[in-house]
Amino acid sequence: MADYPESYKYTKEHEWISVDGDEGTIGITDHAQAELGDVVYVELPAVGDQLQAGQPFGTIESVKAVSELYAPISGEVTAIHEELVDQPELFNEDPHGAAWMVRMRVADSGEIDALMSSGDYVTFLESADGGH
């Protein structure tokens, strides 16, 4: 099992969010990149877009599959990681670090509390629903 940082929160759609003050940083989990395989394209939102918790905000595409990206929480996009468009391999190489996708302003910190801890996420992956 890969290392899932304890300071991050996780979703059932296999995204992580790291919160610093009122700013959240979003990426996909190691499990997600392993399931997708080699990532070749990503479509990210624009700075200023309003994300809605649980709603799709972009797509990520590997050689063999395409998957939607879902916002872990609601809020305004403050930065996007444009280098990922030209370096999609970062998703496979460093999903929990260099492959961050989006920074956003946290609108409601209550939404963060509802997400899974790293321990909950690992349990989720090991269950039938999460691990495939």
């Binding site: 395989g37 080699d38 070749v40 394209y41 797509t59 595409e61 050689v63 063999k64 395409v66 468009v85």
Partner: protein, 379 residues
């Protein structure tokens, strides 16, 4: 499918080598080992080892074996020399493609047909039915369970395999095969493949397959040979412009529509589906299979709709992928003939966005080394 998936003799070998397994046409097969891009590159640059034991084999033997094969398939097997292979299709009475296959002439009156895995039950039933209705001295035997098949593909395939088999591989030309002894059993070594690279396919008894796979990885370690799954097999064959049965052709399409007219030889005499195929050749078909590459960033995938300039769909993507070699989206699809001119523009509906694509000649990729003949889909 409710039945348990079928397993090749390398099933455990794949798991031991870290494969991610998937169901493919009722078979439990490796989709990837290290990753599709890495495996793809290994085959283009060095060598890759594929388990293709799921393919079906049908033996046809007897004085009238050739006459029956001529009746069954569209290409002309009459000129096959001993050890020569031929790419061909079987069609139904309407000229629709039942399967694409290889025909090997193993001995004077002894032929081996190699058919697709998912279509093996259908093909065997079809061949046996046609055999019942065909007068002559020949026997049809489904040998699918008696053959495993390993493919070693890539520029270093020959040097690696030459360390294992006693054959002079340099004397085996493209689409030629020879039997040789390997650890006391007869195996068939064939210079064929489904990747667009030079390489070999080795037909052997199932019990020998894991041992040969180990040996290939062992003696090819210095060249960097790796096991390759079905994911890279698909990206490799599509770059090489090779069709996948069930996607790029099926019983609703004639070989002429599928750009496989070069496999049809009406002058050889009668064969099943000939009248319909001749009519397609003479009158032309309304649609044809075309290759295209994305101008915009995006990956066309099977089932995505194709558009011309208008807002009405004109066809569907039959095969599509991200091309690891070209670093762009490529695909095949059937469109009306007026949209098939090379350089013409198409649009692919990728999840609601219509992205620009350009009609191109296939193959999308041609290996750099000149000289060898290619299996092509162009006429």
């Amino acid at each position: 499918m409710s039945d348990d998936p079928k397993r090749t003799p390398l099933n455990q070998w794949h798991r031991d080598h870290g494969a991610k397994m998937v169901d493919f046409g009722g078979w439990d097969m490796p989709i990837q080992f290290d990753g599709i891009l890495a495996e793809h590159e290994a085959v283009r640059q060095r060598a890759g080892l594929f388990d293709v034991s799921h393919m079906g084999e049908v033996r046809i033997q007897g004085d009238d074996a050739l006459a029956f094969i001529q009746h069954l398939t569209t290409n002309d097997a009459g000129g096959l020399e001993l050890g020569q292979a031929q790419y061909t299709v079987m069609t139904n009475h309407d000229g629709g493609v039942i399967d694409d296959l290889l025909v090997y002439r193993l001995a004077d009156t002894d032929y081996l047909l190699v058919i697709n895995a998912a279509t093996t039950p259908k093909d065997v039933a079809w061949i046996e039915k046609q055999a019942e209705d065909f007068e002559g001295a020949f026997e049809v035997r489904n040998e699918s369970d008696e053959w495993a098949q390993l493919a070693l593909q890539g520029p270093d395939a020959e040097i690696i395999l030459s360390r294992i088999v006693a054959l002079d591989l340099g004397s085996i030309g493209y689409y030629r095969a020879a039997f040789t002894d390997l650890d006391g059993v007869q195996v068939l070594v064939s210079r064929t493949g489904y990747t667009g690279e030079d390489g070999f396919e080795v037909y052997l008894p199932p019990s020998q397959a894991p041992g040969l796979a180990d040996t290939i990885l062992d003696v090819g370690a210095s060249e960097g040979v790796v096991p390759v799954g079905l994911g890279a097999r698909d990206t490799l064959r599509l770059e090489a412009g090779m069709l996948l049965y069930g996607n790029d052709m099926d019983e609703s399409r004639s070989p002429v529509e599928a750009n496989l007219r070069w496999l049809t030889k009406p002058d050889k005499g009668d064969f099943i589906g000939k009248d319909a195929i001749v009519a397609d050749i003479e009158a032309g078909t309304a649609e044809r299979l075309v290759g295209f590459e994305l101008v915009d960033r995006g990956v066309p995938r099977h089932g995505y709709e194709l558009y011309g300039a208008d807002e009405q769909a004109i066809g569907e993507v039959t095969s599509g992928t991200f091309s690891p070699t070209l670093r762009k989206g490529i695909g095949l699809g059937y469109v009306p003939v007026e949209h098939t001119a090379v350089g013409g523009m198409l649009r692919v509906d990728i999840r609601g966005r219509k992205l620009e694509a350009r009609v191109v000649k296939t193959p999308f990729y041609r290996r750099p080394k000149p000289g060898k003949q290619h299996r092509k889909i162009e006429e």
